[in-house]
Amino acid sequence: MATRLESKTLPYGVGHLTVAWYVVTAFLLAILALGLYAYSRQLGEGEIVTGMRDIGTMGGAPWGIYIAFVVYFVGVSFAGITIAGMVRLLNLEHLRPIARMAELLTVITLVLGAFSILADVGQPLRALINLPRYARPMSPFFGTFTLVIAGYLFASLVYLYLAGRRDAAIMARQDTRFGWLYRLWAAGYTDTPEERERHRRTTFWLALGILPLLLTAHSTLGFVFGLQAGRPGWFSALQAPAFVVLAGVSGTGLMIVIAAILRRALGATRELSIGVFRWLSNFLMVLTAAYLYFMVVEWLVSVYAAPSAEARVAAAVFRGDYAWIYWLSAVALVASFVILFVQYAARNHNLALAVIAGLLVNLAAIGKRYEIVIPSQTHGTLLPYGEGLYRPSWVEYSVILGLIALGVLLYMLFMKVFPIIEAPESGEVA
């Protein structure tokens, strides 16, 4: 299809639709369709089609993988804007090529997090109206809803928008179908030194403003669990900081994977150099070490002197029904740390190993989120109800897979309309 869109002078694959792209898109659309179908079944019949049930006499877990993935998605979003922010705040110029892909990751995963919440609540339409209308600051969900989904998402969109104006101006000068979009985005950007200086200043302060919002937002997500005295295993001062650290781990790991995929797909070996992966790997190594520390402390406290209900939850997690998830996640985190540490100590960074570490920590993060959310419900009742059981149903798996497919689709669509890597400072198209 030789249209203006297929111009090979557009950077980083913009407008260049290959057969492989169509195949992947079709596959993702199929998964998305499955997710939508599953959700429609849930809307029609109610959440009876999920594996969730009431705590107590029903021996179930009313919060399942929907909530676990809310936490996971929001956690991943943390790293995106943190990395982009650190580029500005710490002047890490060699990381600039990953800034936009990190910002995009934040925006998309926040949207997925919001959709996961909507998928979980029993009355989603009511939620859309009643949350802005009645939301109470005393509820930890207030922070999740206002700071995370609304505030943080808007801040990240502003960041993405402002940081993209220069590339939009460059794209506007090309002959493309989306000229109107680029001109709107660029909003009269002229690449003068004054404008660049002003932009530098704005994004510096913007990054500075987003970071405390980020910390507060993730801490309130931790408080959703950490403040529940009636839920043994959840009630802990550690939840808030541990959430923030695991968020950094999963997000940074996913950034490594995405950057590696794009390096291969776009042939961007110069921009996405080994130096970029070295920095990301070292950052991930430090965060993983910090999270492993949290896990060790948590384990020690549980086995040394836990009250009876907490001990019951700990037994289920460390030795019982949930042991396989916990230990697999722990091993994945340790293995990842070892890989990253050996590379750091030997000063020899291998891309494939970094990607493996990135994948491992994300699988571990998903497992850990599951292990945080579920066991305290099935095995942590303070009254003698007995053990419960939760097994996600095909509806829940499909909705989650559909959401992940949606995220990848949105990412891929963006890349076809806008360059995923910033054009170099000279202003010339690569």
Partner: protein
């Protein structure tokens, strides 16, 4: 203004569970939802076992974790002490359910119409019941109550929301006791106004040794127990509950 509370005399309770039945009939709760629940507990190894029964309504706490966490204020504390759920506002997030230490909340996982014990439209059922009308639902359950005029009574309204024991707010409104209290054959459940020094609940709390469930968690429940003892960590139910939607 009244300050309602309940006293449960464990020396009288025989574990018959008539209160559970009464609550279900009065409030139209769907399958597997037990707003009032009675634990039948056993401790020790045979032959040295001890039996005990523990009725567990909603505690209508004075420091209710469920009210604190409700994102939209559908779960609220009334001045008279009842903790109510506005089923017009509830978004079904189930935060109250995970925050309750007592496990008293029930979510409508499916449409309540599809969730009763008998398929009332079924022709064989119609024949057996001689065409009796579908389950009678007290129209009082659909009305608004309290000075705040919010709809908080009864169950079976719609799917995707949370419901729990209301201390029969629709009965308390007209000066009646909750259904469980009225139906207990052993008069083990007593309901009344703590602000009235002559009420039976005030008298019992004043004269007898009372305790409350999970008091150490700071929830300040309004349900007091007389006699018996808090369940020990060794206590377990004699029979696992098989009711699951």
């Amino acid at each position: 203004m009244a300050r309602y509370a309940m006293v449960i005399d464990l020396d009288r309770c025989v574990g018959c569970r008539a209160c559970m039945e009464a609550c279900k009939v009065e409030n139209n709760t769907p399958e597997a939802a037990f707003w009032m629940y009675v634990f039948r507990l056993e401790e020790g190894e045979f032959p040295n076992t001890k039996l005990s029964f523990l009725p567990r309504p909603c505690m209508h706490c004075d420091n209710p974790p469920c009210v604190k966490v409700c994102p939209v204020g559908a779960r609220y504390k009334r001045v008279d002490g009842l903790v109510a759920t506005d089923w017009d506002r509830c978004i079904g997030c189930r935060f109250c359910e995970v925050s309750c230490p007592y496990g008293v909340n029930y979510f409508n996982w499916k449409s309540p119409k599809m969730n009763y014990y008998l398929e009332w439209g079924d022709p064989t059922v119609q024949q057996a019941t001689n065409g009796a009308i579908p389950p009678y639902k007290n129209p009082d359950l659909d009305r608004a109550y309290g000075p705040e005029q919010r709809r908080i009574a009864g169950s079976g309204h719609l799917k995707g929301i949370i419901e729990k024991c209301t201390f029969c707010a629709h009965r308390v409104e007209v000066g009646l006791d909750p259904a469980c209290v009225v139906n207990c054959p052993a008069f083990a459940l007593i309901f009344g106004d703590l602000d009235d020094p002559e009420s039976e609940v005030s008298r019992l709390i004043r004269e007898k040794r009372t305790w409350r469930l999970l008091e150490e968690h700071g929830t300040e429940p309004r349900v007091y127990y007389v006699g018996g003892a808090p369940p020990s960590t060794e206590a377990h139910q004699i029979e696992a509950v098989k009711a699951r939607v």
